[in-house]
């Protein structure tokens, strides 16, 4: 029922290796190209951030584990381009394509600065929230997309079926479980919910430690 990307709390990974402070450099030229291509192709506006996340999550567990970060991006980008009919399998196999005129939504150089500085807000007019800060809520168990079997969701398995306390309200946000599958933005109230680490893991490293998650209303019920 879970997917490979849902790794919060997993045992068995090695140490975290710190890196120098400051702007993060690209370690390979192809990392630079992978990032730029992904953002530029995203600028065509043919898919949402939720759809692109789901494309990465749908990599086979074997590929997800062996691919580096930017390899995941490139693989998901190739899959999305074919799914949207922008690139054919034959072109991928050939590594080339016949020249074509610019796409009407081509993300042009002059648009890059303003678009990156503007971003894409995800708040929408939507239903009033059912919960308020201080309310105790229980998360869905099991974590799953109720609209699409095996579909995209943002409730990690480690936080499924847990009781926590609402600490922040963020208004109504685009609902990824629907939006990733072209079922509309279906905005829902979004909350930050704090959970006791001891509840999540059986024991906490220290008393009082907490983990918070950002959760949509339909993931929650009163507790």
């Amino acid at each position: 029922m879970t997917r490979v990307h849902d790794m919060g709390g997993r045992h068995g990974d090695g140490p975290v290796v710190p890196e120098p402070q400051g702007i993060v450099p690209f370690f390979e030229d192809w990392h630079r190209s992978a990032l730029a291509l992904t953002l530029a192709a995203g600028g065509l506006g043919q898919w949402s951030i939720d759809t692109s996340r789901h494309a990465r999550e749908c990599l086979s567990p074997k590929d997800y584990a062996r691919f580096s970060y930017y390899e995941k991006w490139i693989a998901a980008l190739a899959d999305l381009l074919v799914a949207k009919g922008l690139v054919t399998r034959e072109e991928l196999a050939a590594g080339s394509a016949a020249p074509a005129p610019a796409h009407p939504k081509l993300f042009r150089a002059e648009a890059v600065g303003p678009a990156l500085a503007k971003g894409s807000p995800y708040t929408r007019p939507g239903p009033a929230p059912d919960f308020e800060p201080g309310d105790r809520v229980r998360t869905r168990l099991p974590a799953r997309n109720t609209l699409v079997p095996g579909g995209h969701t943002r409730l990690p398995a480690y936080a499924a079926g847990q009781v926590g306390t609402v600490i922040l309200r963020h208004g109504a946000h685009v609902f990824p479980d629907a939006n990733a599958h072209n079922l509309g933005e279906a905005p829902e109230p979004l909350y930050t919910v704090a959970f006791s680490a001891a509840d999540l893991w059986g024991e906490a490293e220290a008393e009082g430690d907490e983990v918070t998650l950002d959760l949509w209303q339909s993931y929650l019920e009163p507790a």
Binding site: P18, A75, L77, L80, S96, H170
Partner: protein
């Protein structure tokens, strides 16, 4: 799109990553789907313009100006925009302040969500399986790998960024910095201190 297509189109690309990317770039450019000049513009943004110096300016302002700090804690997106900082992956910012009682630390266990407009592109460790898996379960062990040990009695709150809200940690202002101006304070604020895996450096 259909998921779990076991015949993933990406497998048609060459196996070697540099060649895969090159092939995709060739196809996208030829088909008019990507503007080569736009690629340069995107890279110029994240290699030279956007990075943790921007977040550090926000923190230094918050340390110096109590009214700004209050605005930042009340509506971080608006307060950060006062410094002409905004954008992709920072549309909905929340500032979380470290105190003697609580240390804050940010992760995205499901992917690698990160507040790009204030910190730039994420470091490799932030995107690693080890950090994504462990930060929520054993944050203190992870902190120790960064050389950080929290005092007894300071609890840890780990923020798992599961939506489009992005978190900026406001570290505690180091002792002995009373005479420093904003520019000098900003130089003490490391990238990792704004993710919560580090602490600001002390005054020189």
């Amino acid at each position: 799109m259909p998921h779990d297509d076991h015949d993933h189109p990406h497998s048609l690309l060459p196996p070697e990553p540099a060649l895969r990317v090159k092939a995709l770039e060739t196809i996208l450019t030829a088909k008019g789907l990507v503007d080569p000049a736009a690629l340069d513009e995107i890279l110029d943004t994240y290699e030279r313009k956007v990075g943790p110096h921007l977040g550090a300016a926000v923190v230094a302002r918050a340390w110096s100006d109590p009214d700004y700090r209050a605005r930042l804690l009340a509506d971080a997106t608006a307060a950060i925009a006062e410094l002409e900082i905004s954008g992709r992956q920072g549309e909905h910012m929340v500032a979380v302040e470290n105190t003697p009682e609580t240390h804050n630390m940010v992760v995205c266990t499901l992917c690698s969500c990160y507040p790009w407009p204030v910190l730039g592109i994420p470091p490799g460790w932030y995107k690693s399986d080890a950090y994504r898996a462990r930060a929520v379960r054993e944050p203190r062990k992870v902190l120790a790998e960064f050389g950080v040990t929290l005092p007894d009695g300071q609890k840890v709150r780990v923020w798992d960024s599961t939506a489009e809200v992005r978190y900026l940690v406001i570290p505690m202002r180091p002792a002995g910095t009373e005479g420093l101006d904003e520019a000098a304070l900003a130089r003490l604020v490391t990238r990792d201190s704004m993710i919560g895996t580090g602490l600001p450096t002390g005054p020189a």
